[in-house]
Amino acid sequence: MVLMAAGIAVAKARVIFGGMPWFKDPVVLPEPVVADGWKFFTAQEVAAVEAIADRLIPSDELSIGGKEAGCALFIDRQLSGDYGRAATQYRLGEFKPGTPSQGPQIKDTPAERYRAALKSLDDHCKQNFSGKPFNALSPEQQDGLLKQLEAGALALGRVDSKAFFNLVLQNVREGFFADPIYGGNKDMAGWKMLGFPGAQYDFRDVIGRQGEDLKIIPISLISRKS
């Protein structure tokens, strides 16, 4: 039994008493994502996700597109971690279809849904567009297919295509707007497009300047990690 003067008795119940705890594992920044290969996606999946990201958030006069911003790298790292494993979701008991009010009852994890849906999408494209996968189609053809997915009008095997579209749209937006430490939002391009200052923690000096363009240069968590 380990007992600190003001601390934690760890050998029995985790009891904290006699002042604030002396030590604990402090929360730290996430490990910055480095583009050193793919941890979840196959090369063909990367091509599909990059193509989708570039249609959902295209390159135009406002910003770079989802592909260049690193959305695929972001999603790859998310799917290879807790998020991809649905670690926070309740996964006990029988999965039964319910009413729309009752929310998703999907047994597959996000990682499993990506794997199955991307394969079905490429299979569908190859069958209908002379053997070409999604990433080899024209932007107009890709947009047409994405609209079908969005409307739930394209069957993707056992995957609910509308729910899958919503998942990808959410993840691409995350990749475009989350802190660059997670692998996307290259050079804070998403934040610069909106004028969001990022990881700033103090606006007391500017709150009085109502209605002004404050021209704040955004900062990222990653710039704090040497």
């Binding site: 029995k12 119940a13 985790r14 904290i16 008493f17 006699g18 002042g19 604030m20 604990k24 402090p26 929360v27 730290v28 996430p30 249609r55 959902l56 958030i57 295209p58 406002l62 910003s63 998020y83 926070t88 979701q89 309740y90 996964r91 006990l92 008991g93 039964k96 009413t99 009010s101 009752q102 929310g103 998703p104 009852q105 999907i106 994405l146 969005e150 749209l169 995350e174 707007f177 989350a178 802190d179 430490i181 997670y182 998403g190 497009m193 909106l194 969001f196 200052p197 990881a199 923690y201 103090d202 606006f203 007391r204 500017v206 709150i207 009085g208 109502q210 209605g211 002004e212 968590l221």
Partner: protein, 590 residues
């Protein structure tokens, strides 16, 4: 066989706002207090320092500080004839986990309920007659009044460091405050937060319409503050990382910022973290509790004996723990009998999205409770003689954050959700979008209740709590009225596009993320046939068990619940200290 710990004078289940306030009071009275908390120890500098905190993905999108459904969830259905299913992913209910509970990640709106909210039954019958209650409504008085609670609201505001402007000091109306509030003995401890551009626009428009705008009372410090426990808080920096986040700057009212630094110094207090209470143990005659049984971080089962048991988990978990422990008779919708699970209520949400043509709102400058509001249409602040409903709500504009993932659906109707057209619309709307948000009264109804699910279990094999809820007719009518008012306000603010929000026109879904404000299920009252607790939040059946939190509310006000959680907890603590300790037994005899 469970391991057994030394007996405590009081055991506290859940160390959020209610638990830490209660622990503070009982340890000050000299009791030996042990708190048991399901989550981990959490503090400002170790868990959400400013250098880690400003991360939307981690804390808002992935909700890193909150209780995951994997740990415990609810099952949900709209009506009794449906089969409830578990809520598997993040949803509108926002349960805290860890020391501080939901008091760590909340926004900070620190309201006092209106005097009418505690006596809606009596007042409505007097003013409009009993027929004003639509079929099935179970409105009942709380058994405590605003006047009873005033000193405890005051005490909570002092401990929490609330920023605001009084509207009524001892009956005298104060310019710039909420003239409809109940009389208060004195002003807030801190002046209101500064205003943002959108708050200024709202204030002017509401005034021109003849309404009475005021700053929402905020658990975000408008300046440096030292509370009555000697704990220092720093001025809020308007960073916009409040809801879902801990405050890295000691500026948000929370157990960490306001209570724990003093509480942890006391020799008669300890907290057992990463340990989940399975049940309250009852004596053979079932008239007293003997303590609680919990499972620690290593899966060892323990018994913690105690003379007093305080259940202070989240509202839903308070009700569940009573049901799992056999404290009080469960509510039966068919017979109308039973009290635990009865009078569950939610928050009637409505409003309007507003899009300006050429504003620069700088939405990233904000605070959790930085909002300007009107209370002209809340509760019975207006004459309902010509309306076919009771209640109403507060209407406000809120400068809470400019976080870009969460705001990305904030574009005018008809905009595609992706592609260059969406980008252009979002870039424009980012500086031009806000909304009128109405938090409305919610009144209890026969068909809205909580009980144990017959099929789905938690990780320990115990039944999950089942929620049966849909908007009741009174909600639908009051929300329609409030959505009309919101549209009027939006137009008066000069918005180019105003989009009415009236979610009560469709079945309620927890996936819609409208509000996390759930109340009731273990309510206080004057009659043990219709309330689980007496007016001191003491179980009618098990007199050494007190159940504190929003579960005690007999109906929901048109406000956030935390101020009233604080006041009712401190009221219960006072009753324990001044009455129960001298003469343990039922504090109300029927």
């Amino acid at each position: 066989m469970a391991l057994k710990r030394a007996k405590a004078d009081a055991v506290i289940v859940g160390l959020g706002w209610a638990g830490s306030l209660m622990a503070n009071e009982l340890t000050q009275a000299g009791l030996n207090v042990v708190a048991i908390e399901r989550g981990a120890w959490r503090d400002t500098s170790s868990d959400f320092p400013t250098t880690v905190d400003t991360d939307e993905l981690r804390f808002a999108t992935r909700r890193a500080l909150m209780q995951p459904p994997a740990v415990e969830t609810l099952t949900f259905r709209n009506t009794s004839d449906q089969t409830a299913l578990p809520l598997r992913d993040w949803n509108t209910y926002q349960f805290g986990i860890g020391v501080g509970g939901a008091g760590t990640h909340w926004n900070g709106m620190t309201w006092r309920f209106l005097p009418n909210d505690f006596q809606t039954y009596t007042n409505t019958v007097e003013r409009y007659g009993k027929s004003k209650f639509l079929e099935g409504m179970q409105v009942q008085d709380w058994g405590v009044t605003y006047a009873d609670l005033e000193p405890f609201y005051d005490k909570f505001e002092r401990l929490a460091g609330t920023s605001g402007r009084a509207g009524n000091i001892q009956g005298k109306i104060q310019e710039g405050g909420n003239p409809f509030e109940g009389p208060r003995n004195r002003d807030y401890p801190l002046p209101p937060l500064e205003r943002t551009r959108v708050a200024t626009i709202f204030d002017k428009a509401a005034r021109e319409l003849g309404y009475h705008p005021f700053p929402v009372p905020a658990g975000n410090t408008s300046g440096a503050y030292v509370n009555p426990l000697g704990v220092h808080m720093a001025p809020c920096t308007y960073c916009g990382y409040c809801e879902f986040f801990g405050c890295g700057n000691w500026s948000k009212s929370s157990p960490q910022a306001c209570i724990m630094p003093a509480l942890m110094q006391r020799k008669n207090f300890s907290v057992i973290t990463e340990s989940e209470v399975l049940r309250v143990n009852l004596a053979e005659d079932r008239k007293t509790a003997t303590g609680v049984t919990f499972v620690d971080h290593d899966n060892n089962e323990w018994e913690q004996p105690a003379d007093i048991v305080v259940i202070s988990a989240y509202q839903m978990d308070n009700v569940r723990l009573m049901l799992l422990s056999g404290i009080g008779k469960p509510y039966n919708r068919e017979t109308g009998e039973g009290v635990v699970g009865r009078n569950y209520a939610y928050q009637t949400i409505s409003g309007a999205s507003i899009f300006f043509e050429n504003e620069r709102l700088n939405p990233f400058i904000g605070a959790g409770a930085l909002a300007q509001a009107i209370d002209d249409f809340n509760s019975d602040n207006f004459d309902h003689s010509n309306h076919d409903f009771i209640g109403g709500g507060v209407a406000l504009v809120h400068s809470t954050n400019g976080r870009p993932i969460g705001l990305s659906n904030g574009v005018p109707p008809g905009t595609p959700r992706w592609g260059s057209e969406w980008k252009k619309a979002y870039q424009h709307a980012y500086q031009n979008y806000n909304s009128i948000y109405v938090m409305g009264n919610s009144y209890p109804h026969r068909d809205v209740y909580l009980d144990l699910d017959p099929e789905y279990k938690d990780r320990f094999g115990r039944p999950l709590l089942r929620v049966t809820f849909d908007w009741i007719e009174n909600d639908k009518r009051s929300a329609k009225f409030m959505a009309d008012k919101s549209e009027e306000l939006g137009h008066a603010m000069g918005a180019k596009t105003v989009v009415r929000s009236e979610p009560t026109t469709r079945p309620f879904s927890p996936m819609d993320n409208l509000s996390s404000h759930t109340t009731g299920g273990a309510i206080i009252g004057d009659d043990p046939k219709t309330s689980a607790l007496n007016r001191y939040l003491q179980s009618w059946d098990v007199h050494n068990t007190f159940v504190v939190g929003a579960s005690a509310f007999a109906n929901n006000g048109g406000y956030n619940p935390t101020g009233t959680v604080g006041a009712t907890t401190l009221w219960a603590a006072e009753a324990i200290k001044s009455q129960y300790l001298k003469s343990p037994g039922p504090l109300v005899r029927i």
